[in-house]
Symmetry: C2
Subunit: 346 residues, 2 copies
């Protein structure tokens, strides 16, 4: 991959992270002054305090954290940097919160190349800048060679809630329509194809993308959203199971309505995976009253350029369970996967 650095960084291309870069002394200071500040400079971060002091526009907030340990760290459609920002922004978006502030904490393995670090940080900057999100506080730790794997990233986000909707699993109601934001499985399938060295005729990319733009459009258009959930580890089935269990209602979906593109289907067949369980990083389900369903589909498809679909509904029977009508017309229970299908997918 070509190294593109859009900020001046005074490190040569062979320079690597040493234990001292995490030691709190001069090397740490160098990293902050030469790498972090030039990339992320903002009024909060530049104060170099122990934490960021912030005045929020609303006292109702969402707060979410995720650590990212994906392997490989660079993949088609993104890298661990892009993933670590979109992932946490998406969790805030699923609470209906406008993402505003992120913390960034790195655990770097000794020997990691500084140009790769800069590339990852620039990916973080690109997504956060697009959404007006500031990286306001951070931390860097370095672990000995063999005690990590290149780089692990934690981002924790604060978003503000500026509407009166109650968007939560507890607010899901019998009769709610379930809208899926697009075709599923691209993230997991592309990562697995890369790991397994599967060559494809077309270039499948991860669906890694921010979801706030779509969610904010739904809010702005007055859609009465009851619940949102992004599909990450464990795929569509895990997300639906979590909602079914937390709301203690039943979920019924139709397989024929769940879009899976041909490349994803092919990779899943080769690897013996079920796309319904494969990870996504840019897809979500929305639970809305039936009269808002069609408009929800239109708004999402329009904003994201995807094929959003109504895939099912919330039922009074089968409480806590997810039932699917399959392509051949039979119904089956979609249970959570019990083992590890795709390790380190995010």
């Amino acid at each position: 991959m070509i190294f593109e650095c859009n900020v001046p960084v005074n490190f040569d291309n062979n320079e690597r992270i040493r234990l001292g870069h995490g030691g709190g002394g001069r090397l740490t200071n160098n990293l902050i002054e030469k790498v972090f500040k030039p990339i992320f400079s903002n009024e909060y971060l530049d104060k170099l305090h122990d934490g960021a002091v912030i005045s929020l526009p609303s006292s109702k907030i969402a707060f979410s954290t995720d650590s990212y340990v994906i392997s490989p760290i660079f993949f088609p459609g993104g890298d661990i940097g892009k993933l670590s920002v979109t992932g946490t922004i998406n969790d805030l978006a699923m609470c209906g919160a406008r993402p505003m502030f992120l913390s960034l904490s790195l655990i770097i393995e000794e020997g990691f190349e500084i140009p790769s670090l800069v590339k990852i940080l620039n990916s973080i900057k690109e997504v956060s800048q697009k959404l007006g999100v500031n990286i306001v506080t951070g931390d860097t730790k370095v672990v000995n060679k063999g005690k990590g794997d290149k780089i692990y990233i934690n981002t924790t986000g604060i978003g503000v809630i500026e509407h009166n909707l109650d968007i939560s699993p507890q607010n899901v109601r019998v009769g709610d329509t379930i809208v899926l934001s697009g075709d599923i499985g691209r993230h997991g399938a592309s990562i697995m194809a890369l790991r397994e060295g599967i060559e494809l005729e077309t270039t499948l990319e991860s669906d890694c993308q921010e979801l706030w733009t779509a969610v904010s459009s739904l809010i702005d258009e007055g859609i009465e959203i009851h619940c949102l959930r992004d599909l990450t580890r464990g795929g569509l089935v895990s997300a639906l199971n979590e909602i079914a269990k937390t709301s203690n209602l039943g979920i019924f979906v139709e397989e024929s309505e769940i879009p899976v593109i041909e490349e994803v289907r092919a990779i899943c067949e080769i690897l013996g995976l079920d796309p319904l369980y494969v990870a996504n990083e840019g897809r979500f389900v929305a639970f809305v009253p039936d009269n808002y369903a069609q408009r929800t589909v239109e708004i999402i498809s329009n904003v994201m350029g995807t094929t959003a679909r109504v895939i099912g509904k919330v039922t009074e029977d089968n409480r806590g369970k997810v039932i699917m009508k399959s392509l051949i017309g039979s119904t089956r229970l979609l249970d959570m996967v019990s083992g590890e299908q795709l390790p380190r997918i995010c």
Copy 2:
């Protein structure tokens, strides 16, 4: 160390973390239901949403993050759990913010013993409960054996600012008195002694402890605090250098006023370390106007049971530098350490 679990956990003592515990499926769910929820249960976490939705009592907040990679994870005076909560709480306290909400994100190495995990989580609970801080959102990732080191923890905190003081490096002024909250070097010295197998006649423990109680007492007593900084990686000298550089003022300290206990001095001598650069996890410096200095010393000593001291002052000359009058009366520049003195100390 004796395993004490004060919540019922349905795992046997030999059960270990598998990759599937981080996979988002049934095993992850088990871990949440059987371990996290029984330990941390609160109104926010129990909602099992993608993030926590919070109504803050003040819209002025502090936000701080840290990842903890200390080795060994259990040490005299604490463990990585206690450290990961006190560390982030202390960063908030240094902003003058009352710690309220924490996120908790774990990166666990495959094969880690679940009883050790429970022990660590109970340490987290103990400190957070004492201060009325809630763990409101979390994440667990599992990495393959050999791609981590038992457990790495990220905590990110939100604290509220409920006073009108401007506590920041930018607010340090010429003539400010510098108060040190107690003797230095216990954390680093005890960890290094443990790693190197140094036997001591007395039992030296880490100084790992929360600092909010002391800081809130200073605020409540009306002390006009200009700046606070806890002494962590890089020790007293790094903290003072950071303040000197950020404020662009000089700092003058007297070695004779900086308390170091005998055990710490002995370990540092054996290992060739300078206590001034050794890490602490429960010490801080306060910058206050001279007329508040004596009261600051009294309050801190009283609340913490330590020997707080006036160690120096802020000067107009030597801008950006830290100068020390040594025991023998000469003055020397205390510069930041350039390499790694103590890797993975926090």
